[in-house]
């Protein structure tokens, strides 16, 4: 038997030979359910499965695939429609909230740009603004990548925090530096109060910060969003650069006012960043779900073609067998 299968010319016959032998063996094993399933494969009434080898196409499998692809198409289409219906309102909100940050950039700008660092090793908080849900393109991946690069470049400097569930991969990469993650933030229409509470928790966790950096996706238009980092210098840094603020008159003690301004600025920046990021998230989800739907439709069309071809081939083969069987009978008579 071994020598029979060795040669190239009788390879085809060899395959059929094995198939027939296997079939006879399995037909003798009546107790096994697997055997029964294999025997069913030879049942000519189950379309296409008898010709599994010949066409490499399993019609039942194809039907299941077509069903699952159509379910996926429905999901991605719905997600795209939901995102596109929400984006207008989110855009309006992002525009309205953007102006809340006015006025501080001229005060803090000189300190951020050319300022002296404060003494000591106070950490810099890097707050990554991410979304809670996925399927929104590169919005979250971009932030995580950026944050990772920043922390890798200066390992001892940063204290990582994440706003939104999708920032938690950072916790597994930098377990020592990751301190806080806020999930379901702003799930029910974010209020400034909620932001204030988050800042309160943030501030209470460390005595002093040298700086707070807020990393988010700034919304430009429905297809563009840019990674932006807002820097808020800490109270000690501000005091160290008090000469840059010499032009300003303070109604009360400089230190208290600057400390309060620091907390106010963090809240204000988180407020603005959250809305911008939300808008970017919706835009990214809209485009990615749109692409996914298009791809799924293409796959669905290709699968449908394959299924029809397989079905027709099975029917043709059945017909050939019947006619050849009939003619063989007629010949023998």
């Amino acid at each position: 038997a071994a020598s029979y299968f060795a040669t190239e010319d009788n390879k085809e016959e060899g395959n059929i030979f094995i198939f027939n032998i296997t079939l006879q063996i399995i037909q003798k094993m009546n107790s096994s359910s697997a055997a029964r399933r294999v025997v069913n494969l030879t049942n000519p009434t189950v379309y296409g499965l008898t010709h599994q080898r010949a066409y490499g196409v399993n019609l039942k499998e194809l039907r299941q695939r077509i069903e699952s692809v159509s379910t996926i198409t429905k999901l991605t289409n719905t997600m795209q429609m939901v995102a596109s219906s929400r984006i207008k309102a989110a855009q309006r909100k992002a525009d309205q909230t953007k102006s809340f940050g006015m006025g501080a950039e001229k005060v803090l700008g000189p300190i951020i740009e050319g300022g002296k660092k404060s003494e000591g090793d106070d950490p810099v908080v890097l707050l990554a603004v991410t979304s809670d849900k996925g399927m929104c393109g590169s919005v979250n991946g971009q932030i995580v990548k950026n944050a990772r690069a920043l922390v890798r470049s200066e390992p001892g400097k940063y204290n990582l925090m994440s706003l939104g569930g999708k920032g938690t991969p950072l916790a597994s990469v930098f377990p020592a530096q990751f301190s806080m993650s806020l999930k379901d933030f702003g799930k029910r229409d974010l209020t400034f109060l909620e932001v204030g509470l988050a800042v309160d928790r943030m501030i209470k966790s460390t005595e002093n910060y040298a700086e707070v950096d807020v990393l988010y996706n700034k919304f430009k238009n429905a297809v563009t969003y840019v990674i932006t980092k807002e820097v808020i210098p800490g109270p000690k840094t501000m005091m160290a650069n008090i000469d840059k603020l010499s032009a300003f008159e303070f109604e009360e003690a400089e230190e208290t006012t600057l400390r309060d301004l620091f907390e106010f600025e963090i809240a204000s920046n988180i407020w603005i960043a959250y809305h911008q990021n939300k808008c970017s998230e919706l835009a990214a989800r809209m485009t990615s779900m749109d692409n996914a739907t298009k791809n799924a439709n293409q796959i669905s069309a290709a699968l449908a073609l394959d299924y029809n071809r397989g079905r027709q081939a099975a029917i043709t083969t059945e017909l050939i067998e019947i006619t050849s069987g009939a003619s063989a009978l007629a010949d023998s008579e």
Binding site: Q96, T97, S99, F100, M102, G103, A104, K106, V107, F192, L245, A247, F248, E249, F250, E251, E252, T257, D260, L261, F264, S268, W271
Partner: protein, 170 residues
């Protein structure tokens, strides 16, 4: 057309130079109006109230006291207490009640008031303000720990300020 404008442009230097010999500064009416105005903005988290509006005087409730901001005010950073922001424009006054925030007058003479909450004064409910004062006075008296006391104090301050702004006695 171009030739005509060129003639006009070349002629004006002659005119203005003669004037400048006699007068320190020549101003048009439009210049006078902008010269007197302060460019002010009042912004809140949910939306801006007004941005870069030319006003004559802006009165803000600083934590160290109420003060007015006019054009050429010295650059200032002031924290706010609950109170009234009054916008004086051409003789008309607009009043907004703010809960707190910051007022910043920049070196370029623009002013931004960032309030956590700002509502036009006529939208405040007098009865609710009075009730608030009573409620928080009671809470302040009965509370034991520091946090509850602080909350009650804040509530009392805001509602008292509302009553003062509305011109009613608490």
């Amino acid at each position: 057309m171009l030739a005509a404008t060129r003639r006009v442009i070349s002629s004006t230097p002659i005119i203005t130079s003669s004037i400048s010999r006699n007068v320190i500064r020549s101003r048009g009416y439009a210049d006078v109006a902008t010269d007197r105005s302060l460019v002010a903005s009042l912004v809140c988290p949910h939306s801006p109230i007004f941005i870069e509006r030319k006003v004559d005087l802006l009165t803000v409730p600083g934590s160290a006291g109420v003060f007015g901001i006019a054009k050429d005010h010295v650059p200032t950073i002031a924290e706010l207490q609950p109170g009234l922001v009054v916008v004086d424009e051409g003789g008309k006054k607009e009043k907004f009640f703010v809960s707190g925030g910051f007022a910043i007058v920049n070196t370029d003479k623009t002013c931004v008031v960032r309030a956590v909450e700002a509502v036009p004064l006529d939208q405040l409910d007098v009865d609710a303000a009075k009730r608030g004062v009573q409620k928080y006075t009671q809470e302040l008296a009965t509370s034991n720990d520091n946090e509850a006391k602080a909350k009650a104090q804040i509530g009392l301050d805001v509602h008292r300020a509302m009553c003062i702004a509305l011109g009613v006695s608490a």
